[in-house]
Assembly symmetry: C2
Homo-oligomer: 335 residues x 2
């Protein structure tokens, strides 16, 4: 029941409470000798700062927020998020900061959460994921003055600090890849069009397809395995039938693969598949999946570092984390 307070430390050291505070926070105002003595006593008593007290007086919570506006079901299916959260955590825990994680149903609830957190002074800053086209969260965050880092393309961030991966370059690489294998009719099974990343990829896909003179279609889904399978059926029914499909995540790619195989078509002989978000899934299927790979854990860590920069007073800037790398595996074959 260690209820050690700085008052107790002050008593034992024979100095005032204030001096102890200065000593413990590495601030000027005490001599090195006193500081050392205070630190020693604090360590002996196993003193741990009371978060609430510190937050109340210092107006810093040392907590950062992350709201996920996705159904619990999606979160189970998408390995992506947990990895991202793990990356964010890795930065926080070494500084012994905390993460407030909230799962909500939609964007309105997400905005309400920001309002609440801001009013409660619950968090020092937030990470905003799943950036949308003309994202309604941006003006709210601006108005609240809540420090934030957006995860997504600068074109969507409206001047706020953001971290992004180059979806355009990745998509271009994917199309160059399938074109170089001789494919001329291709399809894209995409996420929801209101998502910024999807929009960026859609643009890049169209541009590259035109440049390479490919026949190319886009099928939008909600990212789920079910809709990924349905979209794949649509793709296969098209005439002429595409010989390569590029998926927006690996879950849909795996679902699509099952559909294709169930119809008696062979991968990669009949159809080439490319996935996005290279999780373990891409390596355990048979055949293994060609994928646009990026380090999700590292991405989470990078975003958190940028948020700390923003709190330290850095000017808002966009920061390119990386370009997803095309890893060519067994699901790719020449036409």
């Amino acid at each position: 029941m260690s209820r050690v307070t700085i008052k107790e430390i002050a008593r034992r050291c024979g100095v005032s409470q204030g001096a102890v505070s200065y000593a413990l926070n590495n601030q000027p105002g005490v001599s090195e000798a006193t500081r050392a003595r205070v630190l020693k006593v604090a360590a002996e008593l196993e003193w741990v700062p009371n978060r609430a007290a510190r937050q109340l007086s210092a107006a810093r919570s040392e907590t950062f927020g992350l709201v996920l506006a996705r159904s619990a079901q999606t979160l189970i299916e998408e390995p992506y998020f947990m990895g991202f959260v793990g990356g964010v955590e890795s930065v926080l825990s070494e500084k012994s900061f905390a993460l407030a994680l909230q799962v909500v149903a939609d964007l309105d609830e997400e905005i309400a959460t920001y309002r609440k957190w801001s009013a409660e002074r619950r968090v020092d800053g937030v990470i905003v994921v799943d950036l949308r086209v003309a994202d309604p969260r941006i003006p709210v965050l601006r108005k609240l003055g809540l420090p934030a880092v957006l995860v997504g393309d600068p074109a969507l961030a409206d001047g706020m600090p953001c971290v992004w991966t180059d979806g355009t370059a990745a998509m271009t690489a994917a199309l160059d890849h399938v074109e170089s294998l001789g494919h001329r009719v291709i399809a894209r099974v995409a996420g929801p069009p209101e998502f910024g990343d999807v929009w960026i990829r859609d643009q890049a896909y169209d541009v590259a397809a035109r440049r390479l003179a490919l026949t190319a279609s886009i099928h939008h889904t909600d990212y789920s395995a079910t809709q990924g399978a349905d979209a794949t059926r649509d793709v296969l029914a098209a005439i002429p039938r595409p010989t390569a499909i590029i998926y927006d995540n690996d879950l849909m790619a795996v679902a699509g693969m099952a559909v294709i195989q169930a119809l008696g078509l062979r991968i990669p002989d009949d159809i080439t598949l490319v996935a996005w978000d290279d999780s373990a899934l891409c390596r355990i299927t048979h055949p293994t999946l060609t994928a646009l790979s990026h380090n999700v854990v590292g991405y989470g860590a990078e975003v958190m570092h940028r948020l700390l920069d923003v709190l330290a007073g850095a000017q808002p800037q966009s920061h390119l984390y990386s370009t997803p790398l095309l890893l060519i595996r067994e699901s790719s074959a020449p036409r």
Copy 2:
């Protein structure tokens, strides 16, 4: 910049701060008329309680803790956790409580986190997952007096409150299933033996195999896709070769499936597969996977409810959430 405090409300209502506090907290000590007036003004000013202040004086943080001692990599691969967290969240958010989530490397760090949280008064209670055999966390939590609900079999909980699913019954159902299909030589690809759930299943597997007079082997892994694939290769090399394999999670089952298919064996004609933790994966493979299914999101919610019960003063008790249900799909076939 809403910096509305109860002091301001008190001023406007012409009552004392204390009276406002009673009114807002639905406590006796103010007349209904006053309470109504206070509530009205509070609503008008959009007052939101300051968490830190409330926590400091009330010694309640309204925050609950969950530590995951797994690598970020595992967390990405295992869809399980995100679903569980989502379930926990769903209960917390409707009461506007918060979740402190921490990802650490091992059990020692997990214990250190509990110590820190307890000293800081950071959380009101914790959820403990991945229960071990003779779990070292139990005595620590007891000593700290930190309210907790364990997720795992009562046999492992040492009298602490716990929520569990009946792994023994589930495993028995799985073996009855494969035996009824005529399989006589079977294998189990299990998780790490130090995990309580794995241990429980190991026991049940042995007992059922003996009862049914089956030739049965167990191969322990770290739950990863890689080791699941390796274990599957070991299984296939055994003589006599098993005709049915039961996996401890769906990730390994999918990995195993790829290995089997790559070797030219057919599922389910040559080998029957049964998975555990029925996520989307089991339904998107070809063939689809027979699995022991349970509602992970509901499980998380249930556990959180029990923790709230414990904090409300409930006696420690074990609580059976459910028995995983065997869903028979295409990967099952008669010998």
